[in-house]
C-alpha cells in the first residue's frame, strides 16, 4: 500500500491515531500528528511512498504536535517529538511540515551509524551514483532537482547514506528542499512538478519542498555504486567552471560535510577512504543552471 491509496480522512485518522508507517529506503518511520498541514504535506509530497503494516516494526517513532498552554492560542508552535524526546526548539506552527522533514533527517543521521552519512544530495543514472556534498546555500538542491527533472533518479536531497560493506549508496528519495530563489527557478523549469507552498522565515529562509519523481520512489530500494563526487557552488553571475579534485582533497572536503564521520571514528575513516577509492572528484562553480547541467553531464559522460 502507498500513501496515495489512502483517502484524506483515513490518512488523518492514521496520523492522529496509532501512526502512519512510512517506508523511506532502509527506514520505517512511524509518524503521528494531528496538524492538518502535516497530513496534507504527506499526501502531496509522499504519494508514491510505501506504507508498512501498522503492526510491523518501525525504526523511528516520531510526532509533530502543537505546543500546549498559551501557545495553543497565541503564536502557535509545533514541536517535534522523538520517543518523548524533543531534540529541537519549537517552530511556528506554519513550519510544522518542515519541522517533520528536518526531524526525520535528524533521526537518521543521529542514529543510523551502519551508514557513513554525509550532508549532500545523491542522484543515480545507469546504476552509478553522483554525490553532491555541500553545505546549505551552495545550490546543491537546485542542481539535484534539475537533474531529477532531466531523468536522473533522485536517491536523496539532504543525506548521503554510504554503506561501506556493500560499497553502495542507499536511497531515501524524499522531497527536495528548495530554498529562496531556487523555488522560482524550479517552478519555471518544472511547471508540472509538485512544489509545496513556500514556508517563509524558516531558519533556512523561505523553503518549499519538491515531490520526488515516481520513478525515484519506485526504485528507492535499489542501491547505487558511487562513481562521482561533485562539490557544487552556486555564485550568481559566474561562468560555469568545473575542475577535478584530487582524492586527498576530496576526502577532506567530504569530512567538512560529514554528519557522523566523527562518531564512527576509525570506522568512519576507513569507510570514507573506501568511498574516495572508487570515485572521481570534481568541483563545479556555476551561475547558470543550464550551462552547469550541460557541462556536468558532458564531463561525466552521461546522456540521460
Amino acid at each position: 500500500m502507498r500513501i496515495r491509496d489512502l483517502d484524506a480522512v483515513v490518512l488523518r485518522q492514521r496520523l492522529a491515531g496509532p501512526g502512519l508507517r512510512l517506508v523511506t529506503g532502509p527506514f520505517v518511520f512511524n509518524l503521528r500528528s494531528r496538524i492538518p498541514s502535516v497530513a496534507s504535506g504527506l499526501a502531496q509530497l509522499y504519494p508514491d511512498f510505501e506504507l508498512e503494516d501498522p503492526r510491523g516494526f518501525a525504526d523511528y517513532h516520531v510526532a509533530v504536535h502543537l505546543a500546549g498552554g498559551v501557545r495553543r492560542f497565541v503564536r502557535r508552535q509545533a514541536i517535534f517529538d522523538f520517543d518523548g524526546f524533543h531534540p529541537f526548539k519549537p517552530l511556528p506552527a506554519a513550519q510544522a511540515f518542515a519541522l517533520l522533514e528536518w526531524g526525520m533527517n535528524w533521526c537518521i543521521y543521529a542514529h543510523a551509524h551502519e551508514f557513513l552519512i554525509v550532508h549532500g544530495a545523491v542522484l543515480e543514472h545507469d546504476g552509478e551514483a553522483l554525490l553532491l556534498p555541500a553545505p546549505p546555500g551552495s545550490g546543491k538542491s537546485t542542481l539535484a532537482a534539475a537533474l531529477m527533472q532531466r531523468g536522473w533518479r533522485l536517491c536523496s536531497d539532504e543525506l548521503t547514506l554510504y554503506d561501506p560493506g556493500a560499497a553502495a549508496v542507499r536511497a531515501l528519495a524524499r522531497p527536495v528542499s528548495l530554498k529562496n530563489e531556487s523555488i522560482r527557478v524550479m517552478r519555471e523549469r518544472a511547471p508540472d512538478a509538485y512544489i509545496s507552498t513556500p514556508m517563509a522565515d524558516t531558519a533556512k529562509g523561505t523553503v518549499a519542498l519538491m515531490r520526488p519523481t515516481a520513478a525515484s520512489v519506485e526504485q528507492v530500494h535499489r542501491p547505487a555504486s558511487p562513481r562521482w563526487v561533485v562539490f557544487p557552488q552556486y555564485r550568481a553571475g559566474t561562468e560555469t567552471a568545473l575542475e577535478a579534485v584530487a582524492p586527498a582533497e576530496m576526502f577532506m572536503r567530504l569530512v567538512q560535510n560529514e554528519l557522523n564521520y566523527s562518531t564512527l571514528r576509525e570506522q568512519g575513516f576507513r569507510a570514507l577512504s573506501g568511498l574516495v577509492d572508487g570515485v572521481e572528484g570534481f568541483c563545479i562553480e556555476y551561475g547558470d543552471l543550464d550551462a552547469a547541467l550541460e557541462r556536468l553531464e558532458a564531463v561525466l559522460g552521461v546522456r540521460v
Partner: protein, 98 residues
Amino acid sequence: MSSDRLIRIRSNDFEWRSWRGTAVVYDLRSGDTHSIAYPSGHVLSALHEAASDGMPLGGLHERLACAGRTADPGRLAEVIEALCELGIVEDAAADCPS
C-alpha cells in the same frame, strides 16, 4: 636535519591513506583528521614497511629518489617536520619535539 636521523611511524596511534603521494591521516587518540602534502604518502609507505626499526632520513631520501618520487630535500624536510609535529612520525631513538 641529519641524514643519520632515524625515524619511524607511530602506527598504533594513527590510520592513514595515501593517494598519489598525498596522505590523509586519522589520529585515533584525538579523532582529528589531517591532510599532509606530497610526498607524505610516500614517506609513510616507506616508514610503514620499515616498521618499528625505523629508517634513516638519508635512506628515506634515497628510496624516494630511486622510486622516482620527489627528491627535493627541502620539501621532504618540511613534510617530515609536519609529520613529527602531528606526532605521526617520531625519532626512533628519541621523541620528536612537539
